[in-house]
Symmetry: C2
Amino acid sequence: MNKKLTYKAAILIIGNEILSGRTQDTNTSTLATWLNSIGVKVDEVRIIPDIEEKIVATLNLLRSRCDYVFTTGGIGPTHDDITAQSVAKAFGIKYEIQKQAYKILEAYYKPGEFNEGRQKMVWMPQNASLILNPTSGAPGFYIENVFCLPGVPSILKSMLGGLTNLIVGGEPILSLTISLRTVESEIASSLTKIQNENQDVEIGSYPFFQAGKLGVSIVIRSEDQSKIDNCNLQILNFVKEKNIEVVDR
Amino acid sequence: MNKKLTYKAAILIIGNEILSGRTQDTNTSTLATWLNSIGVKVDEVRIIPDIEEKIVATLNLLRSRCDYVFTTGGIGPTHDDITAQSVAKAFGIKYEIQKQAYKILEAYYKPGEFNEGRQKMVWMPQNASLILNPTSGAPGFYIENVFCLPGVPSILKSMLGGLTNLIVGGEPILSLTISLRTVESEIASSLTKIQNENQDVEIGSYPFFQAGKLGVSIVIRSEDQSKIDNCNLQILNFVKEKNIEVVDR
């Protein structure tokens, strides 16, 4: 199979607790960092509530638009966990007991503990394949290009290792950060010139406060290390000319 | 003016740094918590890259669908700050110097320091009104139901106070959390029963790990304190019956 130049993913965060502000989402950053390392770019993230019709519509849009969709949340045992049934509906397929998952959880729990609540976690869309969970037993699943992961950050993280060989990506997306003791307006025009001359490299500029002092981090991103190095040199040139201090960060 | 029962907002996070995983978004949680306190529910969050056509299309969709849209990011002085020009394009109006903003920044900087880069920050959609910035001078702006805020979390936070009187909301959305030393599957069926009997109350169940122990936080949300109290009583009933420990969290 010929690799494409760019692989695009969407992340779909499912959960009222993120939309209410109660819980700070950290899964986006975890997933994006991991995806970049295997050559997949995150095109878009959406955070939506635990409402079936919203999940179905959003999922069908994103899976037609991107190479991969990763969902987080809503695969536990309680009434507000409706991701698996919604994914089945989105694909127009049955929602049923996944036999391999049943066996895994039956063996995972002590005799008598694999109760009704826990059994809900083995219901999945027909023909779903499992994403194994080394932390707490209950697996995630995938079907076609949709990968369904739990919302608890530590469990999600522990499942990515098992996913890596399922995802075809391009070249890893590399990045270099240069942090400067300056403000954005001092470097804006020099940076614009470099971005214009290097249009296939992504150059971002991000102000920060550290130990009471202002600074700017410039982030250069590309699949090609030589292009990053070239931009880096051009940036260090104007930094020297303007007598700006480079700082650790 | 008669208040509606429900006011809905969308949050549009603009920035490659979030999609690359480099920066952890915290503005969603800040905005959602503040909006809930003034009676506005967050319906959806989208995180998109610094690409004009994406910003224009997403903004036009969200502003037609929600009472309010809050954007964060992309209003600084560098080449990757394209929110203001994209908002102008979305509304089909001119992108021009906002005179009040010009005066504010001219006075804010020392003579000679209001340079070309900084002057970019006073370009806004025609007839935009300002959202004052008590932290670092450069204001945000709003036009119709779209409110544009900066991406730096501390600056964004400092600007919300000045926004509160511009937003009409419903009753504040109240919440109560009960944390239990149990696992979700032990309480799933009892909780489903209570949710079914109280369909206009939002009941969420969130597992946690704390000091090496498993627990579940149940979050009850409603505009009506008596409905929350009623659900709380029903939950405490089954907690007592099942001999589950209530824990601080």
